[in-house]
């Protein structure tokens, strides 16, 4: 019998559940990235996992994003939809995203530098967002990106809104 692999999407996702024997479901900081992105503004960088300064962000891709840059490598996985990324090699990367600053920063106006090219992502594809490059996303239809980066000025933390509580449906306590 053929196996069917189940991926999630904005339109079709089902969060799992938690049976708590001792402690609280809050200890597991349990969310679903598609449910998060379904309620997000376009390109809002909602933190869904945080390990000290490091974060994973769920991002709703919709329309064209502002330009972003970062002093270190970041990685993005397309979890739903088609997304194109444009890249510009910054003439002065340290002026836009200083080396001592971590996380994604906004580029004001158009990035100054040479066009590096584009990457077209479909579901399951991962791209490197290299340090020192400006980048922006375009998605004709809403999609979801998962970004591996460091907590920065654009990161949004709203844990109480996105995570399972002891009262949440699906929590068996």
């Amino acid at each position: 019998m053929a196996m069917r692999t189940i991926f999630g999407s904005l339109e079709d996702h089902t969060q799992g559940d938690a049976e708590i024997i001792s402690g609280s479901v809050k200890h597991y900081v349990f969310s679903n990235m598609f449910a998060v992105a379904a309620k997000s503004a376009p390109y809002e960088k909602v933190v869904v996992a945080k390990n000290l300064e490091y974060v994973m962000e769920a991002i709703r891709a919709e329309g064209t994003s502002p330009w972003f840059a970062c002093s270190h490598d970041e990685f993005v996985i397309d979890m739903d939809g088609d997304v194109t990324i444009e890249f510009v090699k910054l003439n002065e990367p340290n002026a836009v995203a200083p080396r001592d600053r971590e996380g994604t920063v906004a580029v004001s106006g158009e990035p100054a530098g040479r066009r590096m090219g584009t990457i077209e992502l479909k579901r399951g594809h991962q791209a490197l967002l290299p340090a020192g490059a400006a980048y922006r996303f375009t998605a004709a239809r809403p999609g979801v990106l998962l970004m591996q980066t460091i907590l920065g000025p654009l990161s949004v933390q709203k844990w109480a809104d996105i995570c399972m509580h002891p009262q949440t449906e699906g929590v068996l306590a």
Binding site: T5, Q15, I20, F75, T118, L121, L128, Q148
Partner: protein, 332 residues
């Protein structure tokens, strides 16, 4: 390594079943047709514990492949290892409340090369031809049982990729060769298209993307993370899972799971005592933390894609153990 190999203490093959037995400090490890037996001294006598041999070898294979991993690798509720990074503790009953309170637990610390060489020698001797401890049970042979019957060095000596940034980036670890890594039988419906990279002249080596789901669909191992994204000490370690994680992993730091496809049920227990804490079912798109004070074992009825996310910052175990860092990653 030659020196460490010389420190492996093993017997001659058993005249009946053909397997060697091994000693590490005061521990003795033997196998027969169906079981691995661990014995250790406590309260003036030897105590024994038995594990099914297939289960034991799957656990030991992970311990070796992961280089003793982060923190605790509990083979089961009695036996396991704790990574002290340079040295490794081996224990029996130490993290089982009943054994420990009864004074029957035993712990001994070994230099990492010595315990690693011993574990590799055990795998080399105890894994029979046809049995792959990395494979799901349905994919491999039951030749693990019975008397000694050849070996399978190829399965136990897979080389580990050392990724600096991301697989497929210029000068970094390669993507999986399509001929050598066929699509797994559970992932035949996973699209195999590649991202379209249009680099301007001169930037060909700087733009990089790959199909992560395709990459995972061709993994020939289960419960064996490999690095696909390095952001300073933040390591993306996705893996494909089927059947049961052959160990209870005890965290010496917080780690996170992001379920990419299908579902896994996690049995979460207290790290110190083994008391049950939670059963967490994670479905596609779910994100959950595994706190620094728990151990967990996963069950995956269909091969699934799990994105394990680790923080490799040096010195974290001490900072959690001292209470400097909270065991739960987020307060809300």
């Amino acid at each position: 390594m030659a020196l460490a190999m010389d420190l492996v203490r093993s017997s001659e093959p058993d005249p009946i079943n053909g397997y060697r037995s091994f000693e590490l400090g005061e521990f003795k490890l033997t196998r027969d047709a169906y079981f691995a037996t661990v014995d250790w001294p406590a309260k003036g006598q030897r105590h024994i514990h038995k594990l099914p041999i297939d289960y034991f070898l799957r656990a030991m294979m992970r311990d070796v492949a992961w280089g003793f991993f982060y923190g605790w690798v509990n083979f089961d509720h009695i036996f396991g290892t704790k990574n002290l990074y340079g040295t490794v503790e081996m224990y029996a009953g130490r993290y089982n409340e009943a054994y420990h309170l009864a004074g029957l637990s035993y712990v001994e610390t070994f230099d990492e090369p010595v315990i690693m060489a011993t574990f590799k020698a055990i795998l080399a001797d105890w894994v029979n031809a046809g049995f792959d401890p990395f494979a799901a049970p349905e994919e491999t042979s039951t030749s693990v049982f019975g008397p000694k019957n050849g070996n399978n060095f190829e399965a136990i000596e897979r080389t580990r990729l050392n990724t600096q940034r991301m697989p497929g980036v210029a000068g970094d670890s390669p993507l999986r060769d399509e001929a050598a890594y066929p699509i797994n039988r559970h992932f035949l419906d996973v699209p195999q298209d590649d991202p379209v990279v249009r680099a301007e002249p001169g930037f060909e080596d700087q733009l990089s993307a790959f199909n992560l789901f395709k990459y995972l669909s061709r993994s020939d191992v289960t419960w064996n993370p490999s690095v696909t994204g390095v952001c300073k000490a933040s390591l993306a370690c996705p893996t494909t899972e089927e059947f049961i994680l052959p160990v209870f992993h005890g965290n010496d730091r917080v780690e996170w799971f992001i379920q990419l496809s299908d579902h896994i049920v996690w049995d979460v227990q207290d790290k110190e005592t083994g008391r049950p804490r939670a059963m967490i079912t994670m479905r596609a798109g779910d994100v959950a933390a595994m706190p620094a004070d728990i151990r967990h074992q996963g069950y995956s009825p269909k091969r699934s894609m799990l994105y394990v996310w680790e923080n490799a910052t040096p010195g974290l175990p001490d900072r959690y153990e001292s209470g400097e860092l909270p065991v739960y990653p987020v307060e809300f």
